[in-house]
């Protein structure tokens, strides 16, 4: 009986922990480096979109580059 109680108590504790909000491990005031312009995921959209188009026109692979294109331009 004691074992069952312990298991139930452990399960209850685990469920309470699972419901707790995730504590951000990098606080907002610790994001100074991530906020630097050189860390932007797409620093120069006009340039990266063009380069993606250059590659996509000459390669069989496509997608998962974050860019969006249209048309052929594949000559």
């Amino acid at each position: 009986m004691r074992t069952v109680s312990l298991v139930l108590a452990a399960a209850l504790l685990a469920s309470i922990t699972a419901c707790a909000p995730v504590e951000p491990w990098v606080k907002p005031y610790e994001r100074e480096h991530l906020a630097d312009a050189i860390m932007a995921l797409n620093r120069n959209p006009v340039s990266s979109t063009y380069l993606d188009h250059v590659f996509e026109s000459r390669e069989g692979a496509r997608g998962a580059t974050g860019g969006v294109g249209g048309g052929c331009g594949c000559n």
């Binding site: 005031y29 100074e32 480096h33 906020a35 006009v46 340039s47 692979a61 997608g63 331009g73």
Partner: protein, 398 residues
């Protein structure tokens, strides 16, 4: 700059924290900055020159809405190996116009856009939609996207000295792309991004100009050209992972890998490393190397053994087995414009990329075409392509 728990940050620290939030566009619920870019691009290689302008403007309207517009132009002059083998050199222009909008509501960003691309023998319309949600203390951003494209394909012919659309040829192709991405702050110096895209295409997916060749002993050059036959559908999966690291002496190091596979049998790997180094207040230098490798499509062959060899037959270089290395360098200079106080920042950037492609099963058929006595079909040297890509652009933040 770390603030100890329990201590109230000063006003200047609060301002810095606010700026930090504003400047992480991909990872926090903020709109892109007001910005204008004017770019000139030029691609030269393999007998092809493509050049033109691109102008991109993004502007916020109020606190929740941002709109963007892009005008892009390709002036194409082509005498590529494909053109020389089965057609005549040509010139044409492609223009692409697009508009986009982003709406921010709490920690959710809704985006939509439309792209229209027109060239004499290819018209394409694309619409796209996405929704991004920040979560877990803004450490995580999940984005789901959908893209739909409608293409109309024509074929140009020469009639009475003029190039016109072939009235007997008008094809269509539809495209759908489903995407999901996850951006995750891992440490105070490291961001990761995972992207997955599923693409499906249906319709006419070949180039109407390019042709296959098959062995033909009766032909003096040793082969005969014939129309390509492509499948009417294609489904592909692309998965990429990117890690971006802030180097403590203020530099950024990025590594990216993409895996691609599709129902045509192509498997491709892309690896890219990028390094950004600011120098003093004005200069930012960028260097990167990109390696790409792909296997051939299952219905590709440089030289088919006989006519009607299989249901589907293609000889597009894009479907051949090849690998390529691209080296890129970029220099950006930040400057101020006197008397224009509404411009907060401006930069001028030059970028050069050198692309070197080595084909593993695509031969230079011009050798046997122009000198059939010396080189027989199928014994020509493998084709390789070196191309230079140049970009010059000015960016303004306002």
């Amino acid at each position: 700059m770390r603030v100890r728990p329990g201590r109230v940050p000063s006003w200047c620290m609060r301002t810095l924290i606010a700026v930090c939030f504003i400047a992480v566009p991909a990872l926090a619920g903020v709109l892109p900055p007001d910005r204008a870019d004017m770019l000139y691009h030029r691609y030269q290689g393999g007998g092809i020159t493509v050049q033109g302008p691109s102008i991109l403007v993004q502007k916020k309207i109020g606190d929740h809405l941002s709109i963007g517009a892009n005008y892009y132009e390709d002036m194409i002059s082509s005498a590529s190996i494909d053109v020389l083998l089965s057609a005549s050199p040509y010139r044409e222009k492609r223009t692409q116009k697009s508009v986009s909008a982003e709406y921010l509501h709490g920690k959710t960003t809704y985006s939509a856009g439309f792209i229209n691309s027109v060239e004499p023998d290819y018209k394409a319309n694309t619409s796209y939609y996405s929704v991004s949600q920040d979560m877990f203390g803004d450490l995580t951003t999940v984005t789901m996207s959908y893209r739909r494209g409608w293409d109309q394909i024509f074929r140009d012919i020469k009639q009475n000295g003029f190039i016109v659309n072939d009235p007997t040829f008008h094809q269509r192709a539809d495209h759908r792309v489903y995407g999901v991405s996850l951006s995750q702050i891992l440490t105070r110096n490291l961001i990761s991004t995972f992207d997955y895209e599923l693409s499906t295409d249906q319709g006419y997916l070949a180039s109407p100009y390019r042709q296959i060749r098959y062995l033909d002993p009766d032909n003096p050059v040793g082969y005969t050209l014939a129309n390509q036959i492509y499948p009417g559908t294609r489904t592909s999966d692309a998965f990429s992972v990117e890690l971006k690291y802030y180097v403590p002496y203020r530099a950024a190091l990025t590594g990216k890998y993409r895996y691609f596979t599709d129902s045509w049998g192509i498997v491709a790997h892309t690896v890219q490393v990028d390094y950004v180094q600011p120098i003093r207040h004005h200069w930012t230098l960028d260097g990167n190397i990109r390696y790409y490798r792909q296997g051939a499509a299952s219905f590709y062959s440089d030289l088919f053994p006989y006519a009607g060899y299989s249901n589907y037959m293609a000889r597009d270089r894009e479907l051949a087995a090849f690998h390529s290395i691209t080296l890129g360098v970029e220099a950006s200079y930040a400057f101020s414009i006197p008397h224009l106080t509404w411009i907060q920042k401006s930069t001028a950037t030059l970028r050069f990329d050198r692309m070197m492609i080595t084909y593993l099963d695509y031969r230079d058929a011009l050798f046997s075409k122009f000198d059939p006595g010396a080189i027989r079909a199928g014994a020509e040297p493998l084709y390789s392509l070196d191309a230079s890509v140049f970009q010059a652009y000015v960016s303004l933040w306002f």
